[in-house]
Subunit: 119 residues, 2 copies
DNA sequence: TCCATATTTCATATATAGTGGAAATAACAG
DNA sequence: CTGTTATTTCCACTATATATGAAATATGGA
């Protein structure tokens, strides 16, 4: 992910409605949800939601696919991970110790164990 | 970190100048840099930078302390980690496997090893 | 084809963000 | 107190973001 990409991704999530939409999409992985169903659940007008979904899609954090009359939106978790990696590498670049602290905290908070625990 | 906090933090970093400032501050941990020195290095007018530093400070991602005539700015890495934890917990909430994938990628990218490797 | 459903695009209004000149504030030295 | 340096605040301007009614587009069924 390049510099413009990270700005787009951060900006996409830096808005309450869009952050809510993204969280909803993450919870509905991998099935996804139709745009209209998102609008219903979050009580947002269709056209307003459409604009927000466009911003999320352009940022690479969500993907869409038409299915009959509906358009199914899904979180792009690979894009999300790319954003996180970019942010952490910024942090690590100057502060390797801080990076270790962060990863330890993430391991503590995460319900699933990373591969390193499986040895 | 609450919901408003994460929006503030994401919004603070979702702007090229501020992201540059934050990266510069991370690289200068733990000494910090004076506001004027940041302006000089990034070639930003003082008043413009001041506005951006205010936004970063209000978001909790940077801290400042006056030292004689200068004001020294420092990255608040604890705030940064809080933001990252919030984002990852959103991801993990719906997808424990994705969380494990992300942490493994972070471990690979990070120059320093987390505590789990020290056993 | 005609209609209903699902979503987006267009047009427009309002709000918030970004920028930088000029003035104000803070610290300190003479 | 005066002058110098460092930073912020004030103000005005421009640009971008957000929101939504109305119209347009796309799909599929009768």
């Amino acid at each position: 992910m390049d510099n413009d990409g990270i700005i787009l991704a951060l900006g996409a999530l830096a808005q309450t409605t869009r952050l809510d939409v993204f969280r909803l999409l993450v919870r509905h992985e991998p099935a996804g949800i139709a745009a209209g169903e998102i609008a219903r659940q979050l009580e947002i007008p269709h056209n307003t939601l459409s604009a927000h979904l466009g911003i999320l899609a352009r940022s690479g954090l969500v993907q869409s696919q038409r299915k009959s009359r509906s358009i199914i939106y899904r979180a792009n978790l690979e894009g999300f991970r790319a954003m996180m990696l970019f942010l952490v590498s910024d942090c690590c670049g100057g502060n390797p110790d801080q990076c270790a602290t962060l990863i330890n905290e993430l391991i503590s908070c995460c319900p699933a164990k990373p591969a390193v625990f499986q040895y």
